[in-house]
Every structure is written in C-alpha cells, then in structure tokens.
Symmetry: C2
Subunit: 355 residues, 2 copies
C-alpha cells in the first residue's frame, strides 16, 4: 500500500500484525500510553477533547499536514524520524512567530496494511520531538486511509502579549539575516532521490538534516524580545520566504546569494552533482532556519545577542521599497530577478509561473 516499512525492511512482514489486525481502538491504547505531558494538562488523550489550563497572554495556533508521496517517501527514513519531523515543522511555525510551543493534537490516516509496529515508532518520534521542544501530546484521531499515509499535527503555542513577530513588519532599509546554515535539507532530498556514490560523510550529514530538521526556537524567542520587524521560517526556500515577507510587508528586497551560509557538506554534494552551491540554499527549503528583517540601528545589538546565545546569524540582504521589486545581487555585479522558485504543491515547476 505504499507505506513506509520501517527499519526492518528485509522480510518477515507477513506475520507482523497490521493496524487492520489490531483495530482502531486497541491501536489508540497502544499509542497513548507514554506521551509527553505537563502539569497544565488536566485531561490528555482518550476522551472527546483534551483539557488544559489556558495559558496567560496570547495563544498561537498552527497546523501542518504531511502526505506520503508529497512530503515524504517510503524508504527515505525511519518512522521515528517521520514522527519527529511532523511535529518539528509545526514547532518551527511557532518559532517563526517568536512563541513557545505548548500542546499538540495528532491525526493519522493509515492504510490497513500498515504494520502496527510502524505506528508505535511514528508516535515514538512524535513523543521524542514533543519532549525535546516542551510540547504536550494531548490527543488525536486515528483513521483508515484507502491510499497514502497522512499525518496532521495541530500545535498550540504561547506568547507574552505584544511579543509575536509576523511577516508584515519589514521596512525599507532593514537588513535581512538568516539563522543556521542553508541548503542542507534540499541537498539531502537530492541525495535520497538520486542514489549514487555521493561522498559518504557529506551525504549522511545532509540526509539527516532533511529527515530530522531542528526548529530554531531559541532564536525565534530572542528575535521576538528584540522587537524585530519581520520573521519567517525557511520551510519553502529563502526565495519563496522573501516573496512572502515582501508581499505581506509591501516592500522589495535585494538578496546576495553568495553570502548564504552553506555547510561544507552541501558544497561537497553540489560539486559532485555539478550544481552551483548556492542553488539549494536559495530555492531548496525545509531547512527550518529563520529569516529575520531588522532595522540597521538594532542590528548590531542583535548580532551581539546572537553571538552570546551561540546562534549563527548571517546577513544575506536588504529590504528595499516595493517598487524596486525582488532581486538577487552577485559578486560580479549582475542583478537578477529573485523568482519565488521554492517548493509549491500542485505546481511541479514553482519557479516558472511568476507573481
């Protein structure tokens, strides 16, 4: 049925119990025992709704759906990694607001042939991410799927009133920074999609970046406390994120691709693949670092604060007026329009339709 088969893919599956064998209600028993919780959780999984002590201040809500064959592929990783990533990408959305992730509900649509062990491993990964990022797993829904495996996470977060950062506040003259390094997730996906004799250590490194993305939660909170202008996470590629920010803020931008922070492993894979090293960083996405726009007067203290907090921060461009549009500027003096060109569902070639 096109399902991940987990770590043990060598056979012996015939006798392993599937979700159809154990049934929905026993499956729910199986997966709701050991989940991450907190004293704020009055009632966890198993009833019609979870009950929590409402947090003071502001509440954030986000949701992301991962579909097999679109967001992940059979055999690209373990079910533990899949569960981890499903929650991590939602945590990244909360990080991109400067908030604190808090409580999640999980829905999973499973083909009947899915091994019960797969589902346990999936929840192990969800639980691992939940504990790492301080999220309580408070409930969910487990349903049958006639086709693909689908995982939906809805995550609530907390924030002090007035401290969240949207995409709307970029102003002409702001400097554009990114956190962490870029392009590794896209390079990892490329390696998975093109099996071959890639440099082994580099390939392992970028594949892990694709399968186990780490949201930049502490950086998001730091940026919110600084009152930066605009903040976004790099889920769809820097090019597309800049289009989102510029559109929401009514501004233009100038990005210098050769300034993008790219790990040696990405450069190594790019060289072996005969591709320009900056391409995955600019258009790849799924890195889940943050993109932040900040006024020049505040930039120096922000850079200092990031250095103190051990957060890698790199200046990659400038916000301009809307009429300027969106451009890339290159070391040799060329300027080239910045096409969105990130990952877009439904459109195989996201870069060609223009906006």
């Amino acid at each position: 049925m096109g399902i991940w088969t987990g770590r043990d893919d060598k056979g012996g599956r015939d006798s392993a119990p599937t979700v159809a064998d154990v049934g929905e209600h026993r499956l729910i028993d199986l997966i709701t025992r050991p989940l991450a919780s907190s004293p704020e959780v009055i009632l966890g999984p198993g009833d019609d709704a979870a009950v929590l002590v409402s947090p003071p201040g502001w509440l954030l809500l986000t949701t992301d759906m991962l579909v097999e064959g679109v967001h992940f592929q059979a055999g690209y990783g373990t079910p533990v990694q899949l569960g981890y990533k499903a929650l991590a990408v939602n945590v990244s959305d909360i990080a991109a607001m400067g908030g604190t992730p808090w409580a999640a509900v999980i829905s999973v649509a499973l083909p009947g042939s899915t091994p019960a062990e797969f589902v346990e491993s999936l929840y192990l990964g969800l639980d691992r991410a939940a504990r790492q990022f301080g999220v309580s797993l408070v409930g969910g829904d487990t349903v049958a799927s006639p086709g693909s495996l689908v995982i939906n996470v809805a995550l609530a977060g907390k924030a002090a009133p007035g401290t969240v950062v949207t995409r709307r506040g970029a102003r002409p003259g702001d400097l554009v920074f990114v956190t962490g390094s870029m392009g590794a997730a896209a390079a990892g996906l490329f390696v998975l999609q093109n099996p071959g004799s890639w440099p082994r250590e580099a390939a392992g490194s970028v594949v892990r970046r694709f399968l186990e993305p780490v949201p930049h939660l502490e950086a998001g909170k730091l940026f919110a406390s600084f009152g930066v202008g605009a903040l976004d996470d790099n889920s769809d590629g820097l090019a597309r994120e800049m289009h989102e920010i510029c559109r929401a803020s009514g501004v233009g931008c100038l990005i210098e691709p050769e300034r993008l922070p790219v790990d040696a492993a990405v450069r190594e894979i790019a060289a072996a693949a005969g591709r320009p090293w900056w391409e995955w960083a600019l258009h790849g996405g799924e890195d889940y670092g943050l993109v932040v726009c900040v006024a020049p007067a505040a930039a120096e203290s922000l850079v200092d604060a990031c250095r103190s907090a051990n957060i890698a921060l790199t200046r990659v461009g400038l916000i301009t007026v809307r009429e300027e549009g969106l451009w890339t500027a290159w070391a040799d003096g060329r300027t080239v329009p910045l096409l969105p060109g990130g990952f877009e569902h439904f459109l195989p070639d996201g870069g060609s339709h223009g906006r």
Copy 2:
C-alpha cells in the same frame, strides 16, 4: 481522481480551473478572505501561526480527520455540506465535554484535479458552520494529495475551570439519557449506499441528517452546569459509546433499545428496508446527539431544565456495576449482550471482535 465534483456534475468540467491550475498560493488567497472571526483573533490566516487572546479558564483541544472513501464518498453531498460536517463533528466533541467551541485550523489535502470551485465551496461550508457555532477560522494548511481528499479540523474550545464532563464519571445507579433522536444519520447513509425507490420525504430527511449533522452544543453546556457524571457524543453509535463510557468509568450498563428515540422517517426507511427500527439507533452512529449519565437524585431537575430549554431528552438505560457487564434489555423479557458494533476503522465488521 475520485474527487467530489460539486453541484454541477453534468460536464463542462474540462475548462473549469483546477487547484493545479491556480496553484497553492493563489488558492490560499481564494479561501482565506471571508472567514468567520472574532475580536479575540489578533492575527488570522496567512502567517506562520494564528494569534489569539488566550481565553480565561480552561482550554479544550480536539481534532478529527475525514478521509474520502472512509468518512465520505464522492457524490453523497455537496462540498458545502462536506465542509459544514467537517467542522460540525469537531464542535460535537467540544459539546461532549460541555465546552464552548472557539477557534479552528483546517488542513486539506487535495488531488491536483480538484476543481478550484470545489475548494471554495468546501470553505463556504466550513465558514457556515463556524458562524453557526461561534468558531473563528484562524488558519490552516493546503497540500497536494496523490490519492484521496483529506480534511483535518483541529478545534480549540473554552470552558470555565471545573465544569467539563468526561466519560469517566458514570456511577452504578446512574440513569442513561440521550438527546435528540437517533438512527437518522445511519439511515441516511444506508439510503445513499443503496439507491432505490425509498419513501421520498423520509429519505430526504435522513440523508440530510447524515450530511448536515447538528452538534448538541446547548445541551452539553447545560449538562456541564448540572455536574452530570459522564458525557459523550454519539459519533460511533450508542452501543460503542456505552462501551467507551463503561470502560472509562469502570462500570456496566443495561440499555433498553426499544426506548431509543427514533423519528418516523427512520422507522419508515427501516420498514421499507426490512430492518428492525432500533438497529440504526443502537449501532449506527454519526447522529452527534449526546449520551449523558446522571445520578437518579439529579435526574428530575435535569429533565425539567431540558424541557425548559427545549432539549429533547430520553431515558434509555441504567448504569450497573462493572461485573454485570453491558447488556440490552427487551420488552419481551430477554437480555442480550450489548456488543460494541459501531463504526470502527480498519475492521469491516466492528461488532464481531468483542472486547
């Protein structure tokens, strides 16, 4: 691609734009303009996460995933009805806790061939339910699906501290009541699955009950204010709900199927189908009325309060000690074990596996 084709199913589809034609980002523009909101919503759809003023007291969280081919079928209704139902079933979960629905995020996985108009209609239905039940639609995710259409709703609700009712508080001697009438949704599904010359008015009535279920929100709040013992919504059939309540509360029960409140339309379809009239009421599900267990001393005032509030309340059985097990009692003196027998995913015959 096995997608609902909307109200216009007579052709002319070739030229209608699909979601693949318009692309994800324009689609999001299309569907996030007119959504239900409230002054508590600081930031609605379009950013990484929605931002709301956190409600005082307790917060409820629930989620339900609807999968085409499992929870709904092409041609069984309009996309407006599908959107309405996707939110209504979540509202019912909040009603079953005695809470007030508040804010929702929606994820939809769409085959690329889905008409863009279908998606607009789906959101129209979601929005209609949101306005009816006082829910703000604050965000979501729209992704591609290689197979079925999938809709996930995650709904947050509010409750005053200490007022929610779980499934855990049923005590031996409690009376079991249900709200509204039962079996209509299952009768409606039966009519849809078995096209034929059913009594026209009755068939229209039960089909609408299946396609547009109305959660019993006011009844839930009333029950919570009375401090009833246990509360559940009838999503999977009374038999299965009683198993859930008895399991969570550590009790048994005795249900009198011939007392179940069943509309004339259901009896009419049942007679035409040659089935016992109580069957859909006992095992059918999707009615989204409430099942409530209350101590005899409090029952009379509850009945009075429901009469004043125009809430139809019917006594259908009794809570017993766990050792008694779960039974049905019939007018002719027979007692028969109450098998769960509701709708269970993965297991085609949910009634045969015993628990």
